[in-house]
C-alpha cells in the first residue's frame, strides 16, 4: 500500500504541468502580498479576492503553494499529520503543501467527510471517509466563485478555518481532526454578493482587476506565452527569484514570534477602526496580526506605522458597515480614514 502510494505520487509529479512561478506573476501586487502574509502567519484568516475572470487568482494560489517548502507527513495519513518525535523514520514522507479546490457543487459530506458507505455496506464496518477539509490540512483551500457557494457551506468553512479543527457529528460518527488551512476565496461580485456576515470573517480582502494599461497587459501575455511555450525553461529562468522569495518567507516565519508591536501602533490601529466604525474587534486584531507578518517579511523586529498603513486597505475594506445600495467604494473610505487618522 505504501509502495503503491509512493509510486503513484511519482507518476503524478511526472504528468503534471509545472506550476507557474509565483515571482513571475506580473502585477496583482496586493493579492500576492496578501497571500504571502497568510503564508507567514496562517492565523490571519485567509484571503478573499474579488474581481474579474482570468486575472490569475488561482494561478497565484497554486504558485504560492509551490513556493512553500515541502512538509513532512506521516506516510498514508489522510489528515497530512505532522510526524511526532516518536514517529518511526520509515513512516515519514515528504509531501507538497496541498492546494485543495472546492468545486461549486460540493455537498456537505464531501467537504467535512462522512461515513464510508462502501465499507459500511460491503464489510459492515463503521469507518470515516475524510473529506476535503482533511486534505487541506496544513495547506490551502481554494474556493472559486465563493459568492455562489451555498451559505451554510461558507459558514461551515469559515468556522473550521477559524477554529483549526473539523468536528464531525453525523451518521453515528463522532470525531474531530485538525484542519488548519489558509482559506482563499475568489469571485466576481457582479455575479452575486457574499453576505456581509461572511465577508468580514475573511482576514484580508483584495480587489483583483484586469490591468487596464497596455504595457502591463502586454507583459502579462508575454510572460504567460513564454511559459506555455516551454514551461521547464521558464521555470529555470525564474528559479533564482523563487529561491530568494522562499528564503525570505522562511526567514519571516522564523522571525514572526519575536516581532513586537509598540503601544503607539496599537493606538493607531484602534483610532483607524474607530474612525471607520468597524463592528467588533476583528478589525483591530487582523490589522495587528497582518502588520506583524509584514514586519517579519520586511525583516523588522518592531512594527512601525508604515507597515500598518500598507496593510490597512486589505485588512479593513470588507469590514465597513455599509448600505447595500450604496456603491461608494469602501476602498476609498478606508483610504480617506487612513489619510485623516494616520497622516504620514
Amino acid at each position: 500500500m505504501d509502495g503503491m502510494l509512493a509510486a503513484q505520487k511519482e507518476s503524478r509529479t511526472a504528468t503534471r504541468k509545472p506550476v507557474f512561478p509565483f515571482t513571475a506573476i506580473v502585477g496583482q501586487e496586493e493579492l500576492k502580498l496578501a497571500l504571502l502574509l497568510c503564508a507567514v502567519d496562517p492565523m490571519i484568516g485567509g484571503v478573499l479576492a474579488l474581481g474579474d475572470r482570468g486575472t490569475g487568482k488561482s494561478t497565484a494560489v497554486r504558485a504560492l503553494a509551490q513556493l512553500l517548502p515541502d512538509m513532512h507527513v506521516v506516510l498514508g495519513d489522510p489528515y497530512n499529520a505532522e510526524p511526532t518525535p516518536s514517529t518511526p523514520p520509515e513512516q515519514i514522507a515528504v509531501a507538497r503543501v496541498p492546494v485543495v479546490d472546492l468545486p461549486l457543487g460540493a455537498s456537505e459530506d464531501r467537504v467535512v467527510g462522512a461515513l464510508d458507505l462502501e465499507r459500511a455496506l460491503t464489510r459492515g464496518e463503521k469507518a470515516f471517509e475524510p473529506g476535503l477539509l482533511a486534505r487541506a490540512h496544513r495547506g490551502f483551500l481554494y474556493i472559486d466563485e465563493v459568492n455562489l457557494l451555498e451559505d451554510h457551506l461558507v459558514d461551515l468553512l469559515l468556522d473550521v478555518a477559524a477554529s483549526g479543527e473539523n468536528v464531525v457529528e453525523r451518521e453515528g460518527i463522532s470525531l474531530r481532526h485538525p484542519a488548519r488551512f489558509v482559506l482563499v476565496g475568489s469571485g466576481n461580485p457582479e455575479e452575486g454578493e457574499l453576505r456581509p456576515q461572511l465577508l468580514d470573517r475573511f482576514g484580508l480582502a483584495v480587489d483583483v482587476r484586469t490591468p487596464d494599461d497596455l504595457p502591463t497587459r502586454i507583459a502579462v501575455v508575454k510572460r504567460r506565452d513564454s511559459y506555455e511555450r516551454d514551461p521547464h525553461a521558464f521555470l529555470r529562468r525564474h528559479h533564482k527569484a523563487e529561491e530568494r522569495q522562499r528564503a525570505a518567507l522562511l526567514k519571516a516565519r522564523a522571525l514572526l514570534p519575536r516581532v513586537k508591536v509598540p503601544d503607539a501602533v496599537l493606538e493607531d490601529a484602534s483610532r483607524l477602526c474607530m474612525a471607520l466604525g468597524t463592528d467588533g474587534l476583528r478589525g483591530e486584531l487582523t490589522l495587528l496580526r497582518t502588520a506583524r507578518a509584514l514586519a517579519a517579511l520586511d525583516g523588522k523586529r518592531v512594527v512601525s506605522r508604515d507597515q500598518l498603513r500598507r496593510i490597512a486597505l486589505p485588512s479593513l475594506r470588507h469590514r465597513l458597515r455599509r448600505n447595500p445600495l450604496d456603491d461608494a467604494s469602501s476602498s476609498s473610505r478606508v483610504e480617506r480614514a487612513l489619510a485623516e487618522t494616520l497622516p504620514g
Binding site: 464510508d116 504567460r224 506565452d225 447595500p324 456603491d327
Partner: protein
C-alpha cells in the same frame, strides 16, 4: 485557403482548449464535427457526454455493483481519464450542471484528475479539447461562462471545412514564432474590443501560430494574426471599436475579400497592425454589438448556463426523508433506511463469506432534500409621462427598499420599464444589488404608455424564472392608463384592449402578481387590469415608498409560504 477554426483546433487541440458550437442539431453541425474528427490523429479518443454526467462517471470512482458482487473495492475509470489526448463533446451544453462544469474546468486547468476515496486513489493525465454543443435558443441559454472562457473558439458552423493533411503543420508548429510587435498589437486589439481576460489573447496567439503552421510559415504573418483576431477575439468583444469614433467609416471588408497575394508589403507598424487586426475582427463581431443599447443587456447576463431543471435533483437543503433509488452521482445514500430495507431479508439471502449483512441494489434508499424556494421579484414599472412625473420617484424608492429586503433574503430582482414605444428589460434577474440600483437610477421618465408590452415582457421573464425552478412575483406599478398598443401604434382604445389581454395572459400563466396603482386617486382602469391579471390590487393614494415596500414584502412571504 483560409483555415477554419476546425483546422486550427485539430492542429493544437489541447492548447486551444476547444470550441463552443452554437447551433441546433443538424447536418451543418455534424459536417463540421466530422471534418474536425477526420483531421485529428487516428488514435485520438472522441467521447460524447450528456450535460449532467454524475461525478463517478466523469472522474471515476467506485463501481458499486461490481464492488458489492465481488466484495472488494472495484475502481471505475471516468470519462475525463478516457478522453486524454482526444476530444470531449458535451451535448446540450447550455443545460450543463454547474458542478459538472466545475469538474471540467478543474481538469482543464490542471491537466490531470485525481480521485481519492477510501482504498482507492486514481490519478490520470487528461489533456483534451472540449467541444460544447450549445443548442440554446434564448440569449440566456448559454454554457457556463467559466467554461466558455477556457475555449478559444465560439462559432455557429455554416459550411463544413475541407479536411486537410496536418502532419507537416504538426511537425512545424513547435517552431513557429511570433514577432513581438505582433504580440503587442494583438494585446492592444483585445483591449480595444473590450476583451478583458488575458486568456483570450493567449488563445489568439496560439491560433495565429497554428494558422502559420498550416500555411507552412515559421514566422506568424499578418494574415495569420488577422485570422486569429477574427476567430478568437471578435466573438468575445464587448465593445465595438468602430462605434467609439463618431464618424467612423463602415467596417472594412472581411479578410476573405483580401486576396492572398505573394508580394509582401513592408512590415506594418504595430499601430497599423492593430488597425488591420481590428478590421479583421469587425467582420465577426457579435451581431448585437452593432446595437449599443443591447450591449448593456448582454454584459449583465454574464452568468449564463443556469437554464434547465437543475433544481430537480436537489442534493442540499432540508432533509425530507428517503426513497428507493440508486446512490449514483449526486444522490446520497440514506444508510439507516437502506439497512432497514435490507433487514427483513437477511435470513433468506446468502451472505458473502466475509460480510455481516447482505445488501442488494433493490435495498438502496437515497435521501431527498427540500430546498427553500428562491423567489424572483419582477418589477414592471410604468415610466410614462402620465405616471412618471410625480410617482416615478416614489416607485423608485419602493423598489430600492424592496431591493434591500431582497438582499437580506438573498432573493433575485428584475426590472422592466415601459415608456415610449416599447418595454425594456433594464435588469435581468440578479442578486447584484449595486447593479440593480444603477439601472434604476438611470431609468428616465416621460412619453406614452405601452402597458401591454410591459406586461408581456414581465410575463416572459416570469416564465423563464419558473422554468429555472424559481418562484416569480410580478409587481406592476402603473396607473393603468395605456395609450400605445402592442404593435407600437398610438390609440387609447386599442392599447387598453391589448393591456387587458396581456393581463389575462398573466392570470392564465398562473403568475402571482401585485398591482400598485400609482395614480393620485384610485383608477378604475387599474382596478380592472388587476382583476384581469388575477393580481392583488393596492391603491396607493398617499403611497410612500415605505408602504409600498411593506405591501410587496408581505406578498413575497405569502408566496414563499405556499
Amino acid at each position: 485557403m483560409t483555415p477554419d477554426a476546425a483546422h486550427l483546433l485539430a492542429l493544437d487541440p489541447v492548447g486551444l482548449g476547444g470550441v463552443a458550437l452554437r447551433a441546433p442539431f443538424g447536418p451543418a453541425r455534424d459536417a463540421w464535427l466530422a471534418a474536425l474528427r477526420t483531421m485529428l490523429p487516428d488514435a485520438a479518443p472522441w467521447r460524447r457526454i450528456p450535460p449532467d454526467l454524475p461525478d463517478n462517471r466523469l472522474l471515476g470512482g467506485l463501481d458499486l455493483t461490481a464492488t458489492l458482487s465481488l466484495g472488494k473495492p472495484v475502481a471505475e475509470h471516468g470519462v475525463l481519464a478516457a478522453v486524454d489526448q482526444g476530444v470531449l463533446l458535451v451535448a446540450m451544453a447550455e443545460r450543463m450542471a454547474p458542478s459538472t462544469a466545475a469538474r471540467i474546468t478543474a481538469a482543464m486547468d490542471q491537466q490531470d484528475i485525481t480521485v481519492e476515496r477510501e482504498g482507492l486513489r486514481l490519478t490520470a493525465p487528461t489533456r483534451f479539447a472540449l467541444v460544447l454543443l450549445d443548442e440554446g435558443i434564448e440569449p440566456e441559454e448559454r454554457p457556463p461562462a467559466a467554461l466558455l472562457e477556457r475555449l478559444a473558439f465560439r462559432l455557429t458552423p455554416e459550411t463544413a471545412p475541407e479536411p486537410i493533411d496536418l502532419s507537416e503543420a504538426r511537425a512545424l508548429l513547435p517552431r513557429v514564432t511570433m514577432p513581438m510587435e505582433m504580440l503587442e498589437a494583438l494585446v492592444a486589439a483585445a483591449a480595444a474590443l473590450g476583451v478583458a481576460s488575458p486568456r483570450a489573447t493567449l488563445f489568439a496567439i496560439r491560433a495565429a501560430r497554428a494558422a502559420a503552421a498550416i500555411a507552412g510559415r515559421r514566422v506568424v504573418a499578418d494574415d495569420d494574426a488577422a485570422l486569429a483576431a477574427t476567430l478568437v477575439l471578435a466573438p468575445r468583444a464587448t465593445r465595438n471599436p468602430a462605434a467609439e469614433q463618431d464618424e467612423s467609416p463602415p467596417p472594412p471588408p472581411p479578410p476573405e475579400d483580401n486576396p492572398d497575394t505573394d508580394e509582401t508589403p513592408p512590415p506594418p507598424s504595430p499601430d497599423q497592425l492593430q488597425e488591420l487586426l481590428l478590421a479583421a475582427a469587425a467582420a465577426n463581431l457579435p451581431a448585437h454589438l452593432l446595437d449599443e443599447a443591447q450591449l448593456k443587456a448582454l454584459s449583465s447576463r454574464a452568468g449564463g448556463g443556469r437554464a434547465g431543471a437543475a433544481r430537480q435533483h436537489a442534493q442540499t437543503g432540508r432533509p425530507m426523508g428517503a426513497r428507493a433509488g440508486e446512490p449514483r452521482g449526486n444522490n446520497r445514500l440514506a444508510v439507516l433506511d437502506t439497512l432497514r430495507a435490507a433487514a427483513p431479508w437477511q435470513a433468506l439471502r446468502k451472505r458473502p463469506p466475509h460480510a455481516r449483512i447482505a445488501i442488494r441494489r433493490e435495498d438502496f434508499r437515497i435521501r431527498q432534500f427540500k430546498r427553500r424556494n428562491e423567489t424572483t421579484s419582477i418589477f414592471a414599472v410604468d415610466a410614462s409621462g402620465s405616471s412618471a412625473l410625480h410617482r416615478l420617484a416614489e416607485a423608485k424608492g419602493a423598489v430600492e427598499l424592496l431591493l434591500a429586503d431582497c438582499y437580506v433574503r438573498r432573493d433575485r430582482v428584475a426590472l422592466v420599464a415601459f415608456r415610449g414605444q416599447a418595454a425594456e428589460v433594464l435588469l435581468p434577474p440578479t442578486h447584484a444589488l449595486a447593479r440593480a440600483k444603477r439601472s434604476l437610477a438611470a431609468l428616465p421618465g416621460g412619453g406614452p404608455t405601452p402597458l401591454a408590452s410591459g406586461l408581456d415582457a414581465a410575463l416572459e421573464l416570469a416564465r423563464a424564472e419558473e422554468r429555472a425552478g424559481r418562484a416569480a412575483l410580478v409587481v406592476i406599478m402603473t396607473d393603468g392608463r395605456a395609450n400605445i398598443a402592442r404593435d407600437g401604434t398610438p390609440g387609447a382604445a386599442r392599447a387598453q384592449q391589448d393591456a387587458m389581454e396581456a393581463a389575462r395572459a398573466l392570470r392564465l400563466a398562473g403568475v402571482s402578481a401585485i398591482l400598485l396603482d400609482t395614480a393620485p386617486r384610485p383608477q378604475p382602469a387599474a382596478r380592472a387590469l388587476a382583476d384581469a391579471a388575477g393580481a392583488v390590487y393596492l391603491p396607493m393614494p398617499a403611497a410612500d415608498a415605505q408602504r409600498m415596500s411593506r405591501a410587496v414584502g408581505a406578498a413575497v412571504q405569502r408566496l414563499e409560504a405556499a
